[in-house]
């Protein structure tokens, strides 16, 4: 049967690999191509690579780096960062990347998803929503942000996710800004809001510190993508850089515990 995907998320900053906390304090991890090689050996389910500079700097995707990543990567690859046109998305897919992730460009213009899906197929189009709790004493609920948290959009994440699905997204990634890098577990309240809402696959990111956190999310949400950054690049309380990934047996344990099979 289909099982949840366990997905390392790699952030690219100044051509290097970094890990952030709350979208800030990026710590250098190493060379992205080297990390891909290690995840090949560890047989990771899928890789999510996000360039966190491109949108903020207003530059187009780094095609040179994407080409090198795609040539090296022997698992499904999803790339995001700076994609704003149909041509860019098509070029990335042609380079051997299974899925292209978009965020700010499609939040401001959902019909871009339709145009891209018409060219590369819906299965290759992913919408990423960076979500954070609204701040203020009398406020509650969540809001969307882009540009590494610098730009806020006052819209409801669930309504927006539905809209992006209907526009042509083949997968929705929900990334918790508040939980990012703290390794205290996913924002389960946030995830719960999406239960039974979408027809396309979903992936959650932000907060994972252990495989138990993944089990927790999959027990509530079923077959979803379980993405994590810190868990797969840090070891121990001093956050020493060490790339790791669960064995097949550990993965199957997470899945069977969560789905009670």
């Amino acid at each position: 049967m289909l099982r949840p995907r366990i997905i390392p998320c790699l952030l690219i900053h100044k051509s290097g690999l970094v890990k952030t906390q709350g979208f800030k304090d990026s710590k250098y991890i190493g060379d992205p191509i080297n990390a891909v090689k290690i995840f090949n050996e560890k047989e990771a389910d899928e890789l999510l690579v996000l360039d966190i500079d491109a949108t903020v700097n207003g530059c187009e995707p780094n095609f040179d780096l994407i080409g090198r990543l795609a040539a090296e990567c022997r698992m499904p690859l999803c790339y995001g960062g700076g994609v704003t046109t149909v041509d860019q998305a098509a070029r990335i897919v042609d380079m051997g990347v299974e899925k292209v992730a978009l965020s700010s460009a499609v939040i401001s213009n959902p019909s871009l998803l339709t145009e891209i899906a018409n060219v590369v197929g819906r299965q290759s189009v992913v919408a990423v929503l960076d979500v954070r709790k609204k701040i203020g004493i009398f406020t509650s609920g969540y809001e969307i942000c882009t540009h590494n948290g610098r730009v806020t959009h006052k819209c409801d994440p669930v309504i927006l996710a539905k809209e992006l699905q209907n526009a042509g997204a083949g997968e929705i990634v929900i990334n918790s800004v508040d939980k990012d890098g703290f390794m205290q577990g996913y924002d389960l309240d946030l995830a719960m809001q999406f239960r039974g809402v979408l027809n396309v696959p979903m992936t959650f990111l932000g907060g994972v510190g252990s495989l138990e956190h993944m089990t927790q999310l999959a027990s509530t949400m079923g077959i979803v993508g379980l993405a994590a950054g810190s868990l797969f690049v840090f070891k121990g309380k001093y956050r020493a850089v060490l790339i790791s990934y669960p064995t097949l047996q550990q993965k199957m344990d997470v899945c069977s515990k969560a789905l009670k099979t």
């Binding site: 049967m1 289909l2 099982r3 949840p4 995907r5 047989e43 389910d45 899928e46 795609a70 040539a71 090296e72 990567c73 022997r74 698992m75 499904p76 897919v93 380079m95 051997g96 299974e98 590369v120 197929g121 819906r122 299965q123 290759s124 083949g170 997968e171 039974g196 979408l198 027809n199 396309v200 696959p201 979903m202 077959i223 993508g225």
Partner: protein, 205 residues
């Protein structure tokens, strides 16, 4: 020599990387001449069925491909939409397929009673190989896991052609083999040691 048919659709790069990793010589073929002396053929494909068929028909490669596969019996493996193109046609489009393996391509969601399964069918799922399939005859213990990413599936007319099935809402034909012509819905080029073994078996057996 392995030739990967490059008609402008599909992940050629991924196959090149996988064969390089396997230590097997493979080349991209985008002209009829470059298909010459092929001993194995890979027909990749992604996206919309009609788009892929149209690109293949317009590529100038189809006649040569038919000569190699039908007349000279060079083993071919169609992958993802490349598998679906082996069928007579698809519910996704109106263009005829190659018709090399009797069957139709159908929509997964139209066959499902339950609407709670996400579409596309994306992620790692088990293949249930049928006994006697060459592709699984070596190096497979337990239930192999393969990466899937699709919303349509191949429904073989002659169930004797089915080499493996998978389950997502329904049981469907995930791998077909009709003589030297093979099709696989999931992605062996992205399925780690299971995919490697399957490609190795295709090339060596």
């Amino acid at each position: 020599m392995i030739r990967i048919v490059d008609y402008g659709v599909g992940n050629i790069q991924a196959f090149m990387a996988m064969f390089k990793h396997l230590g097997l010589e493979a080349k991209r073929a985008d002209t009829p001449e470059s298909l010459d002396r092929a001993s194995r053929l890979i027909l990749p494909g992604v996206g919309h069925f009609d788009h892929a068929m149209k690109r293949l028909n317009d590529s100038g490669l189809r006649t040569k491909l038919e000569e190699l596969v039908i007349k000279m019996k060079v083993p071919l493996m169609g992958v993802c939409v490349g598998m679906q193109m082996l069928a007579e046609g698809s519910e996704e489009g109106i263009l005829p397929g190659l018709g090399w393996v009797p069957g139709r391509v159908r929509s997964l969601s139209s066959k499902m009673n339950s609407t709670c399964l996400a579409m596309p069918h994306m992620g790692w799922n088990n293949l249930q190989p049928r006994g006697g399939s060459k592709l699984f005859s070596r190096g497979f213990e337990g239930l192999p896991q393969f990466y899937f990413l699709h919303s349509y599936y191949f429904d073989a007319s002659d169930k004797g052609d089915v080499a493996a099935t998978a389950h997502y809402g329904i049981d469907f034909d995930a791998v077909v083999s009709r003589g030297h012509i093979h099709g696989i819905q999931c992605h062996p080029e992205k399925s780690h040691h299971w995919g490697k073994q399957l490609l190795k078996n295709f090339v060596e057996l």
